[in-house]
Symmetry: C2
Subunit: 270 residues, 2 copies
């Protein structure tokens, strides 16, 4: 099912700035049992990202109305939410009275190999290096060519995800996920102040650190630091949490933290 500005349609005008310039942002979340999982986190992030781009974010009640319609038809699905600055004439200058375009489209919950959740995943080390743009860092905007080109680097269906470094060699994220590393009782996740997408599940995991009695460090670290970690895991709103079992020459045994975090996230689905 697809809703565009509340209407069941499946096309947008070619002069939408989302197409013209990637002038918008998106979120991907799961509906389970007719309820959007972690919605308040997603809405907070949607509002934040809209504010960064200067797009007037539709009110929460408007999104909720759309989500209720979708979840009645498809009580278990993935929803992609896109908001663009709306239609505009040619040229970078936005229209004075832009009316944002609101798109929600559902798809099946992906059927990843069962072993990825249970045993962990193999990571490709991407050659693509992320560029620094502090003005857009963290935001899940529609300018995603870096991710697209990175994802084109491997076709092996046994490789679940690709790891992206920045141009200084710092670990940043997966092409579609955030990354955490456990080292000597400290939980590390990359600083996303210059590039990368600060995902909702990353935020939720950071919020769990105190109750796990894990000191949390958000900082730059290079690939060798990650490879020397005791446990590495990836997260996003669709996959949940996957432990990394293999990256380049490095392999890890099954650790205990990934499963604990997955359970805690499942318990706090608000």
């Amino acid at each position: 099912m697809i809703l565009i500005n509340g209407q069941e349609r499946d096309t947008i005008p070619v002069d939408d700035r989302g197409l013209a310039y990637g002038d918008g942002l998106f979120r991907t979340l799961v509906i389970r049992g007719g309820m959007p999982v972690a919605w308040r986190h997603h809405y907070r992030k949607l509002s934040h990202d809209c504010a960064v781009l200067g797009i007037a974010c539709p009110e929460e009640s408007v999104w909720m109305e759309d989500l209720i319609r979708l979840s009645r038809c498809e009580p278990a699905c993935v929803v992609k939410i896109t908001v663009t600055r709306g239609r505009g004439a040619r040229g970078y200058a936005g229209p004075a009275t832009a009316q944002p375009t609101r798109i929600l489209s559902t798809g099946p919950i992906p059927a990843y190999p069962a072993g990825w959740l249970k045993d962990g995943v193999r990571l490709h080390l991407c050659r693509m290096r992320l560029g620094h743009q502090p003005g857009l860092a963290g935001v899940k905007h529609l300018n995603r060519l870096e991710n697209v080109l990175a994802r084109m680097e491997w076709r092996d269906p046994g490789t679940a995800e690709g790891l992206l470094l920045d141009q200084e060699g710092n670990v940043i994220e997966g092409t579609m996920s955030n990354v955490f590393a456990l080292r000597a009782g400290v939980l590390y996740t990359p600083d996303l102040g210059r590039c990368g997408v600060a995902g909702v599940t990353r935020d939720r995991i950071m919020a769990l650190a105190p109750e796990l009695a894990l000191p949390l460090q958000v900082r730059n670290f290079p690939l060798p630091f990650l490879l020397q970690a005791e446990e590495v895991f990836l997260c996003n709103s669709v996959i949940g949490v996957w432990q990394v079992r293999e990256a380049g020459e490095k392999t890890w045994d099954r650790g205990g933290l990934t499963g604990t975090i997955r359970r805690l996230l499942d318990e706090k689905n608000d």
Copy 2:
């Protein structure tokens, strides 16, 4: 008039990757007297940019057929050409058999104030700094949020363009144009190997340098270097060439080179 894959339509499916990820590129050119100006340059650039993104560029004859249809209806107009990777399911991995989407849409030739061509323009110095991404530099792709945010920095209709530096302070380009500077008989234009769009008119001007007996240097230079130039001008396929008369505190008298280059470009419209 809008043609999408050769059909007169004005919408695209929401699952087009051009919208989802800015996964595509574009060009803007002028049709005059029923002929697309500098078409062979635009087609060469279109093919090059498609190759960088791994998109199968439709053949020249396909574009020509579209352009002939448009130019019969509108013998004097601006044409925006967009090509995307085509439709695809959710996720960064492109479909195995992507069918590129080809969009051509016409608009009026913009009526800029007559003085901008005759006397020159005022330049805003953008706070937005371009990020480095060598894997995409030069390409006129659809990931243009930097340009959008930069263009949002000024609303004064008397300011024609904004100047963008990179994060190291090198002059790169205008939000919609390339930039040249004349200093002591040498023509300078920024190196676009790490960011910026290498426009067709920039290429055409670079090719004119020998017949103007002007040594050409493509290199990094900071803002003060530009401000100390004897003549600075901007170019793109729609505006042609505009001299810069004012940037920050700096003003320039009318120079001789801008007009000469404009005449030479007009003579070589192939």
